[in-house]
């Protein structure tokens, strides 16, 4: 008689349910694993054998021929997470017991029979629950992750012995009731109250936060671009529970969640260095791609300092996530899609030496070098950044004074109100307004529209640039709780369109 036990493999944020079948028969003795097992699954033979024996459980006799099949056979399997299911299937088969209905097993085994952490438990639990699994056995340390999924009974497993005792002898094994972990509170470290001056940049930050617009800051070294960017999480509303779960899925795949506390309301703020590889930025790796920084920044901020220094190919690869809010990566093991809806905040020097436009220090670059530097940033990427603002150094004497600007909490309230208006009106933020929505929903007054048209024709804006300015104007109006876009809103919005002004 063959026994079949359910387990699962990750395919990005999707899952591939795997049936682990065991048959113990007579014949040429051995322990055979079939079904396109990758390296880590072939090694499972050794782990499972030791774990079963060291748990004082019976192992099939020497002369038995044992075959483990992993179905579906055509998909390559490379995960230690199948260990528990294989061991359970062997034990059930020997005892002649049936596998529990609607249950699945996930976990790696140590040689002494302990059940070890595996990455991606949250993703696995979600996928299995959608496919009718009602009871999921997971490593004890990962139970809090799995418990985030509704309608799923989670059983926290510490040892193999505990699991077989429960299945074969009916020993009690309570379902995990650690409570659905509450969302860890967001603590903003950097506060706008600490920023000196920079009135225009602060305002651009507020508009970007309110409308979800991408932002580019250009300014000399030491002008506080990084500090300003770091203030962004503090003026954004905390993650909703759904957003936090979305983000936790990425962390789950990467195994980066805090054990027992998988959810955080904190907006992610990712600031990869400009030497990062394309795989590190958008995701990649061998076999199946792992999520990159763009997915770690899901629902949060991707801050790229020294934007012009990034590999042009990597910046090109940002186009899909910028447009679609997700990223698809194909590797030998198949194609996976990860969420990547982030606010891009770029920072760059205005020229190679950094001092172009500075009122005190002279720039040493040739005009051609400045042009080339700024052109390197232009094109498709810049075309997708709604807001661009120049930042200057605060005078040294100002740094010794107390900054006088508003704190993050004040700004956050305005941002939250403006976001609320947008969600109520169109169900998403202004950054994602389509052309049809702009025409239908945004209530632009005739004189405001004329100002927009005058600007676009004077600067030869593309249709895309025109809409971009329109969206920003909509956000400016929302910050003022205005249903209509007035001319002043358009004019202010155009003040944060540096690239257009330069194109004149």
């Amino acid at each position: 008689m063959a026994t079949s036990v359910r387990s699962v493999l990750l395919r990005g944020l999707d899952v591939l349910p795997v049936d682990v079948e065991v048959d113990i028969a007579t014949g040429q003795p051995g322990f055979f694993m079939v079904g396109l097992a990758g390296g880590s699954v072939r090694e499972a033979r050794e782990r499972v054998r030791s774990a079963v024996r060291n748990s004082a459980l019976p192992w099939p006799p020497q002369r038995a021929r044992m075959t483990v099949n992993l179905a579906p056979a055509e998909a390559r399997k490379d995960s230690g997470g199948l260990d528990l299911a294989i061991a359970v299937a062997i034990c059930l088969d020997q005892a002649g017991a049936a596998a529990p209905p609607e249950a699945a097993f996930l976990g790696e085994l140590s040689l002494d029979g302990a059940v070890r952490h595996v990455d991606g438990v949250l993703v696995a639990a979600r996928g299995l629950a959608r496919r009718g699994v009602r009871r999921l056995f997971v490593p004890a340390g990962d139970a809090a992750e799995a418990a985030l999924v509704a309608d799923l009974e989670v059983v926290a497993c510490r040892t193999l012995q505990e699991v077989t005792g429960h299945l074969l002898e009916g020993l009690p094994m309570p379902s995990f009731t650690g409570g659905v972990a509450d969302v860890a509170e967001a603590v903003a470290v950097d506060d706008l109250a600490e920023v000196h001056g920079q009135a225009a940049a602060r305002r651009a930050l507020e508009i970007a936060a309110a409308g979800g617009h991408h932002l580019l800051m250009t300014g000399p070294p030491g002008s506080g671009k990084t500090m300003l960017a770091r203030c962004l999480p503090g003026i954004l509303p905390p993650l909703t529970r759904d957003e936090a779960i979305d983000l936790a899925q990425v962390g789950s795949v990467l195994g980066e969640l805090e054990p027992g506390r998988p959810l955080s309301a904190r907006r992610p703020f990712r600031a990869p260095h400009h030497t990062i590889s394309m795989a590190g930025l958008v995701g990649g790796g061998s076999g199946l791609a792992r999520p990159g920084e763009v997915s770690r920044a899901h629902h949060g901020i991707l801050f790229l300092d020294e934007l012009a220094e990034f590999d042009p190919g990597s910046l090109q690869a940002l186009r899909q996530p910028l447009e679609e809010g997700r990223v698809s990566i194909t590797r030998s093991g198949g194609s996976v899609t990860y969420p990547a809806r982030f606010m891009l905040v770029g920072a760059t020097n205005p020229c190679p030496c950094g001092w172009e436009g500075d009122p005190v220090k002279a720039c040493r670059c040739t005009p051609a070098a400045v042009d080339a530097y700024q052109r390197a940033l232009s094109g498709p990427l810049l075309d997708r950044i709604d807001l661009q603002v120049r930042v200057s150094r605060a005078p040294l004497e100002a740094l010794s004074e107390e900054p006088t600007g508003e704190g993050s909490s004040v700004v956050r309230e305005r941002v939250a109100a403006a976001r609320g208006r947008q969600l109520q009106r169109q169900g998403h933020l202004n950054a994602a307004l389509t052309r049809a929505e702009l025409r239908r929903l945004t209530g632009i007054r005739p004189e405001a529209r004329r100002a927009l048209e005058r600007w676009s024709s004077a600067r030869g804006l593309t249709a895309r640039g025109f809409q971009r300015a329109w969206r920003v104007a909509r956000t400016v109006a929302d910050l003022q709780a205005s249903d209509e876009i007035f001319e002043a809103h358009v004019l202010e919005a155009l003040g944060y369109r540096v690239a257009d002004a330069a194109a004149a």
Binding site: G197, A200, A362, Q480, G495
Partner: protein, 286 residues
């Protein structure tokens, strides 16, 4: 130290030798402020109107503004190139070069035809500019600017060196102010240059009138003096304007854009500068 080329070494396109007359070189930063650009253009125009031939280097910025000013006044202007005369560098000035030739001016070079732009050649070209001129006027030069090499060459060649003062806050003023401190002639308007050339008084303005202003008239507009708080040489940040005028930043931003669309202000770095009314359209927007 480079030496000026002998006249027979020069290759020229256009009218060469040039018509008789005094020659004034106007040189300066390749990235001047709107102020510097306006000064160069206005000065060149006023000088050309009196028959002076304006010499410059066909570079971006002050050089181009000087050539433009001379052309606008219907004058003759000479561009001294650092490349072969068959190559126009930078390419952005190809149209300007064509108009110089069309207006009876000349492009000259001490380098053989086909010489591409090479860093080392430009200081030598600066010597040629000085050699071809009676007076060298420097308009906006930061520390280490190539225009200062021209001034040095002029001194070595016993030419008169003059400089236009700028804002003491601007890095672009450092070179000119150093020249002035070292005894260069002060240029406030074309009359100062003509006086240095020893030109006759009748070509000059009525001396009883205040000197023709090179300073820019404040354009009308700005209900409460937004423009009065803007300089034409140094950028002012929107936040500073908001503080000075006691107005909220969003209002300042929208009014600045309105002025920008009207061509009264332009962006520079993180702030805005006032633009000359009419005139310097290249720095203007809209």
């Amino acid at each position: 130290m480079p030496r000026p080329p002998e006249p027979e070494d020069l290759r020229a396109r256009g009218r060469w030798p040039p018509p008789p007359g005094r020659r004034v070189a106007i040189v300066g930063s390749r990235r001047p402020s709107p102020y510097g650009e306006a000064v160069a253009e206005r000065l060149a125009a006023d000088l050309a109107a009196t028959g002076v031939i304006v010499v410059s280097g066909l570079a971006l910025g002050v050089d181009a503004a000087a050539h433009e000013g001379a052309l606008a006044a219907g004058g003759c202007t000479i561009a001294v190139l650092g490349t072969g005369v068959d190559i126009v560098y930078p390419r952005a000035n190809a149209d300007l070069a064509a108009r110089i030739l069309a207006a009876g001016g000349a492009l000259v070079s001490q380098f053989p035809d086909g010489t591409p732009p090479q860093r080392a050649n430009f200081p030598r070209r600066n010597w040629a500019i000085a050699a071809l001129s009676d007076v060298v006027v420097v308009v906006e030069a930061a520390e280490g600017s190539g225009a200062l090499i021209t001034a040095e060459a002029a001194l070595a060649l016993d030419r008169e060196v003059m400089a236009v003062p700028g804002s003491v806050f601007s890095p672009l003023s450092v070179g000119c102010h150093q020249l002035l401190r070292d005894g260069a002639g002060l240029v406030q308007n074309a009359r100062d240059v003509l006086a240095a050339l020893g030109a006759q008084q009748e070509v000059l303005d009525d001396p009883l009138k205040p000197p023709a202003s090179l300073g820019l008239e404040a354009p009308a507009g700005g209900r409460d003096g937004l423009l009065q708080h803007l300089s034409d040489a140094l950028m002012t940040e929107p936040g500073t304007l908001a503080r000075k005028l006691g107005l909220p930043l969003p209002e300042i931003m929208s009014r600045l854009t309105a002025l920008e669309m009207a061509g009264a202000v332009g962006r520079r770095g993180a702030g805005y500068v006032r633009l000359a009314p009419g005139g310097i359209s290249r720095a203007g927007v809209g």
